[in-house]
């Protein structure tokens, strides 16, 4: 029995040690929750912020823009990540844009169609146009890829084209940008919409997709930057109260020139204030 006791004692010691360690480690902690579009950028920002401020830990969790808003209101998160302009019901929060991102229409690289008008896009997504031939492509049925309810990319898309989700006759419903890119790259007749940042990043690396020109404006990071690409949205950090202390330091850091390389590495457009 003696050996059992010593194992028990060792276990208790270990548990106590890890408990004390974790309390020490969390003394300076920033919690960010929200949009999955912003999260990869926020993680990079957090890493660099941690290396500049030893002893600070930045914890990034995804869950969509609506979670970011909810958690910030409740005080569960120090900073919320919200893609898109704040709605009128969300004006109680302080928003700080850290980057711009466009939503682009993507098709398979082998698709001869390179440009669509807004009318054609609405026609395709509401099921009035069902064959690529009608918009200058091959004779093939269009496979429509739509986003799942509640995603902010979906909301930006619907708001821009003034559609309701129930009007869209989708064939495939997806979760995140990556899944959309995988489906369109595997289906020569598919059409979908994803973050331009994510699509440009993958197209650069040889994934067979291409971004369509929308109403005469090419879906490029450059056009999002100069403001000519119409379907773009700000990526925001939000707080409940005007930021102070560590929160203010992080937001100022995220909007400063020293993080532009991180923003551009994610194919977003930096917004700078200093």
């Amino acid at each position: 029995m003696r050996w059992m006791k010593s194992i028990g004692a060792a276990t208790i010691m270990l548990v106590l040690m890890s408990l004390t360690l974790s309390t020490f480690a969390s003394s300076h902690k920033l919690v960010l929750t929200g949009s999955s579009t912003i999260a990869p950028l926020a993680i990079e920002l957090g890493r660099r912020f941690e290396s500049l401020h030893p002893g600070v830990r930045v914890d990034v969790q995804t869950g969509g823009s609506s979670r970011g808003i909810n958690d910030t209101r409740k005080g569960v998160a120090d900073i919320g990540m919200v893609s898109g302009v704040l709605k009128s019901a969300e004006q109680d929060l302080q928003a700080f844009a850290i980057a711009l991102d466009g939503v682009g229409i993507i098709v398979h690289a082998s698709n001869p169609v390179t440009t669509l008008t807004n009318r054609q896009i609405v026609g395709i997504f509401t099921g009035r146009i069902t064959n690529w031939q009608e918009v200058g492509g091959h004779d093939a049925r269009i496979t429509l890829v739509n986003k799942a309810e509640g995603r902010s990319t979906l909301e930006s898309f619907l708001a821009y084209f003034q559609l309701k989700n129930s009007e869209i006759k989708s064939h495939i419903v997806i979760g995140d940008n990556q899944q959309g890119i995988k489906i369109v790259s595997g289906n020569p007749h598919a059409i979908g919409y994803v973050s331009i940042g994510a699509a440009a990043y993958d197209a650069q690396r040889g994934v067979p997709i291409k971004l369509l020109t929308m109403d005469g404006v090419a879906a490029t990071v450059a056009n999002v930057r100069n403001g000519t690409y119409p379907l773009s949205r700000p990526l925001n950090l939000v707080t409940r109260l005007p930021p102070t202390g560590l929160v203010k330091q992080f937001i100022d850091f995220a909007r400063s020139k020293q993080t532009h390389d991180l923003v551009e590495a994610q194919y977003f457009v930096p917004v700078s204030v200093d």
Partner: protein
């Protein structure tokens, strides 16, 4: 060995009492966890259950939670179509594999084949899903667009539950007493006669338990189905129509859902649990009444 002898004799006075107490606590915990899950689901879905009539989950026009339409029925049929389709394919294949291992293959082939099936059982579901998304779906798409479909999810699910079925059927058939089989041979039955008339009936309970296990896995599978099913909320009118299952619905929307939308997703979780409970009851009834 000497150490153990010493230890056993030293403890024998009270070990029984302690052991039985520990087992009781373990059993109680397992039952409590199940109860807590049910309670949690009820608690989380309570806000909508209070102000949305239960029938609306089955009679609303469609599933557009942000536009206040909550029809869950297409997802129930989606789940049922996909898992029963997979069972329809996997049950004969699984039992055939088990019979092959025991009655037809040489011992060496049987061992090799069993290792292979065990390996198949160990592949994580997301790998199946990824393979389906990049290979199976484009293949079906060439045949009949859009590719992501009921058929794709049935095929992926079949691959995933086949090892469960084959291994449980194998275990059940191996456990059939040798005397039975010897008696069957002595009576001059053919090999198929022995399998059909003696081995399968004697192993029936184990095989049914395996089918139940596989059905549970098919209904509960999320990631792989999410990647290949297309996830459009509709009643499938053909094998090539995309569907959405209850689990995929929760996984797709939970992270982004707030308020009523979130609570309705917990209702679909509750529905899923009820489905599995119904399945268990059916299986229990089947085990009791259909005696050979």
């Amino acid at each position: 060995m000497i150490w153990w002898k010493h230890s056993i004799s030293f403890l024998s006075a009270s070990i029984d009492r302690w052991f039985s107490a520990a087992l009781r606590i373990g059993a109680l915990l397992a039952a409590l966890i199940m109860l807590f899950i049910l309670l949690f689901l009820l608690l989380e879905s309570w806000p909508v259950l209070r102000h949305i009539a239960l029938m609306r989950f089955f009679t609303d026009e469609a599933w557009h939670p942000l536009e206040d339409q909550y029809n869950l029925l297409p997802m129930v049929t989606g789940t049922l179509y996909a898992s029963s389709g997979a069972l329809l394919l996997a049950i004969p294949l699984g039992i055939a594999s088990a019979l092959f291992m025991i009655f037809y293959a040489t011992p060496r082939t049987a061992v090799l084949y069993r290792r292979l099936i065990e390996l198949l059982a160990g592949i994580p579901s997301v790998v199946f899903g990824f393979w389906g998304l990049t290979t199976l779906v484009p293949l079906i798409n060439q045949w009949h667009p859009p590719g992501a479909s009921l058929l794709a999810s049935i095929l992926i699910l079949t691959l995933m539950i086949l090892p469960t079925l084959a291994l449980t059927s194998y275990a059940a058939l191996v456990a059939v007493p040798k005397d039975y089989l010897q008696a069957a041979v002595a009576l001059g039955l053919s090999r198929w006669g022995m399998i059909y008339g003696v081995a399968l009936p004697a192993a029936r309970k184990g095989i049914v338990a395996g089918i139940l296990l596989a059905a549970g896995r098919a209904i509960g599978e999320t990631m792989a189905v999410l990647m290949v099913a297309g996830n459009v909320v509709q009643h499938a009118d053909s094998l090539f129509a995309p569907i959405r299952t209850l689990t995929a619905n929760i996984a797709l929307e939970m992270a982004y859902a707030m308020g009523d939308h979130r609570a309705v997703l917990f209702v679909s979780g509750l529905l899923l649990l009820l489905l599995v409970i119904a399945l268990t009851i059916i299986a229990a009834w089947f085990g009791k009444t259909h005696h050979v």
